[in-house]
């Protein structure tokens, strides 16, 4: 995919927060926002945004997906085209894949050439968060500190569709105090797969348990990743299996949302009402 190069450092971006982050994990959205703002990038949040339509596309319901894709383009398109923002940033490799890869598939199929071209233009300025921080802003360190051992899980869409892998690893390496260990079979899918997790829940969960075993094997306190959908799946499995390790979105790690340490049992964690701790039990 062709990615835009910026002559000047972008100073304003539109946040495509994704519906899951909005409703389930606002802390990730807040961290994303703060990470960008700390680095002198103004964040615009188009409040009309809802869902990009990936669940419908994934399940084969392309007319429904197109409906939501058109809606997305009508919200984000003008912002980019009028020069109100320089880029679109999402804290999700999967949703970024939907808008920057699959929208084109949808409009190519329906032969809506105008929309396909608009999707293509938007795709060139759409970035997953870590991709934006590293490739566009040139960051290697967000100034985060965290004690403990973390392993990185490359989520499939981010890794295989967007080709983003070094960027999040680099940022994790930059976290002071954090020991980053290799996750065995790291690039094996966690088994989420959207509708797959419901339709083929047995297979999906078996894949999730394989991921949980890998996490145990490497002794990580936490799995860092860039997608809350995979995070929901992995944590759902870890919680059900009674394993103490938890998956965390990288934005929360990079923005110091997790306290001082990944191993807190002896000392109580500081309460942060704005950033509710989830999956704590």
């Amino acid at each position: 995919m062709h990615k835009a190069t910026f002559e000047q450092r972008p100073n304003r971006v539109a946040l495509f927060v994704t519906c899951m982050v909005d409703m389930l994990y606002p802390g990730v959205g807040i961290a994303t926002c703060e990470l960008l703002e700390k680095n002198n990038v103004e964040v615009v949040f188009p409040e009309e945004q809802t869902c990009c339509g990936q669940p419908a596309f994934n399940a084969g319901y392309r007319n429904e997906a197109r409906k939501l894709a058109r809606r997305f383009l009508s919200i984000f398109g003008p912002l980019v085209e009028n020069g109100e923002v320089d880029a679109i940033v999402a804290p999700s490799g999967s949703c970024a894949t939907m808008t920057s890869h699959f929208f084109e598939v949808l409009f190519e199929e329906s032969r809506e050439e105008e929309l396909r071209r608009q999707a293509e233009r938007l795709a060139s300025v759409t970035f997953e968060l870590t991709e934006f921080l590293v490739d566009v802003l040139g960051l290697a360190n967000t100034g985060a500190r965290l004690q403990g051992k973390a392993a990185y899980h490359p989520c499939c869409h981010l890794y295989r569709e967007l080709g983003v892998d070094d960027q999040p690893r680099k940022l994790l390496d930059g976290v002071e105090g954090l020991e980053v260990v290799d996750l065995p079979h790291a690039d094996d899918c966690c088994g989420f797969g959207g509708l797959f997790s419901i339709k083929n829940s047995g297979i999906s969960a078996a894949m999730g348990r394989a991921k949980a075993r890998s996490a145990q094997q490497c002794g990580a306190d936490a799995i860092a990743l860039c997608d809350v959908s995979c995070m929901t799946h992995i944590n759902g499995i870890l919680s059900r299996e009674g394993i103490s390790c938890r998956a965390h979105h990288i934005a929360e790690i990079l923005n110091n949302h997790l306290g001082n340490s990944l191993r807190p049992p002896s000392q109580p964690e500081p309460q942060q009402p704005d950033h509710p701790r989830r999956w704590g039990d």
């Binding site: 319901y61 094996d188 419901i198």
Partner: protein
């Protein structure tokens, strides 16, 4: 517990998941093959090789009728008899007639997915022929009366202990766990079958259009025996299995061996260019080539031509985390794994006949990464899902659910109300079960059967944003 090949999809999957030995056997073998593939592809310029093979196969497909005609005329010139088979029954009848005309009683076979696809063994046995598989893996599963569960490693689902049991039961072999002893016994038995067989049948890894040569690759030499010892030799080949030139054949051979087993080259690569000529000391008197369509042109017409680039190496199966969990039999089709999930419905008269298969994948893309021809398998699976919806083959509740979701998400007001309701509801409910949600009603019980679910956030991101904007506006 074994997977009952004829049970419904859900039962097959459950049976596979319930068998801990299956996962161990399959994942161990597939991991080994994947490691071997990566090492072997890295030893050459793997990415370049993949691009070259892809281009070559695309070229074939763009000029498909021409190359098929060229192949036919060169096969004929070499003295082979060419047969065209449109559907399964046509192919079965052709091979059956050849066997009956030549009064063959015993048929030896080299491993072939094309003949599995047309259930040829069964069709021949029906008219009283005895059919013996001569690839060791195929021989074992034939003894065990099971279909192959992997494109290149048919017995991958069985552990050594299970194979030993088959040998004890069916061949009266004294108990042993030594693979070499079992192999020796199979070899001795098969040698007798080769001598006695009146007809040999094989598939075809590729046929060379410019020379009319048929090529099969094996590691056991059984392919050479099947194609040279019996009086009659029959090749069943899918019509996409052709390459233009000898040079192309060696290109594909490289990609095939390295991707399938991680070998630089298989132990045997047997070429047949027609029947025995005057002065030859051996070779079959007749060579028949059955060109099998069986849905391949249908697949192209339906828009799944990309899958016709497949060279049947099995690399996508080895890379697939779903295949590793459930093995091949759970798919319930001749071809399994990612490529099977695509071509089984795409070849079938109606896609909806195999409506579960395009959903038997998390679409992780490991298959595409492994494919020596770079087939975009996730995309094809997504396209099939779309076709299923077009054909109204999806469950009614699912269609209703997705349509409702799309409507709700089309309105910011509805989206926000839904978010608030879900937040209040799920937090109340989670509070009752002590933090995380452990049970949800159908269809979401598919989630909570195996995993917990955290409730929605008390305050959404957009609420936080709004409050912050307000505060900032005030200061």
């Amino acid at each position: 517990m074994q997977v009952d090949f004829n049970a419904p999809y859900k039962n097959r999957v459950q049976q596979a998941l319930n068998d801990p030995n299956l996962r161990v056997a399959v994942s161990k073998a597939t991991d080994r093959m994947t490691d071997a593939r990566l090492a072997s592809m890295d030893a050459v310029e793997g990415q370049k090789l993949r691009s070259q093979v892809r281009q070559m196969k695309q070229h074939v497909l763009r000029n498909w009728p021409d190359y098929l005609q060229q192949l036919e005329s060169n096969l004929t010139r070499n003295g082979c008899t060419v047969h065209w088979a449109e559907e399964t029954e046509d192919a079965q009848n052709i091979v059956r007639d050849i066997a009956l005309q030549n009064s063959a009683k015993l048929v030896v076979k080299s491993k072939s997915m094309a003949t599995e696809e047309i259930h040829l063994n069964h069709a021949l046995e029906e008219v009283g022929l005895r059919v013996v598989e001569t690839d060791l893996g195929e021989y074992i599963i034939q003894l065990a009366d099971e279909p192959p569960s992997h494109i290149v490693a048919p017995v991958i689902h069985k552990r050594l202990e299970e194979i030993a049991e088959v040998f004890q039961d069916k061949l009266d072999m004294p108990p042993t766990r030594e693979p070499t002893k079992m192999t020796s016994l199979a070899r001795a038995r098969l040698r007798q079958e080769f001598f006695a067989a009146g007809m040999g049948i094989s598939g075809c890894n590729f046929a060379i259009a410019e020379t009319g040569a048929i090529c099969i690759v094996t590691n056991e030499g059984n392919g050479r025996m099947v194609s040279s010892m019996p009086r009659v030799y029959v090749v069943v080949m899918g019509i996409e299995k052709l390459v233009p030139t000898v040079e192309d054949a060696f290109l594909q051979l490289q990609a095939l061996c390295r991707s399938a087993t991680g070998q630089n080259l298989t132990v045997y690569c047997s070429m047949t260019s027609g029947p025995r000529q005057e002065g030859d000391v051996d070779g079959p008197e007749q060579v028949h080539v059955v060109l099998l369509d069986n849905g391949r042109s249908r697949m192209l017409a339906r828009g799944y031509g990309e899958a016709l680039l497949c060279i049947r190496c099995g690399a996508c199966l080895n890379a697939c985390p779903v295949y590793q969990e459930i093995g091949g039999h759970a798919y319930g089709s001749t071809y399994n794994g990612p490529i099977g999930a695509v071509i089984t419905p795409a070849l079938a008269p109606e896609i909806s006949r195999f409506k579960e298969l395009p959903h038997a994948t998390s679409l992780c893309g490991a298959c595409r990464e492994a494919c020596p021809v770079k087939i975009d398998l996730p995309r094809l699976l997504l396209d099939l899902r779309s076709d299923l919806v077009q054909e109204n083959a999806s469950p009614k509740t699912e269609a209703w659910g997705i349509k409702s979701y799309a409507s709700l998400m089309s309105s910011r007001r509805m989206y926000e109300s839904l978010g608030k309701m879900a937040s209040i509801g799920s937090n109340l409910y989670a509070g009752m079960s002590g933090g995380n949600i452990k049970f949800m009603p159908p269809p979401l019980n598919g989630w909570t059967a195996y995993r917990d679910f955290a409730p929605f956030a008390p305050k959404s991101f957009r609420q936080w944003w709004k409050e912050r904007s307000k505060l900032r506006g005030q200061t």
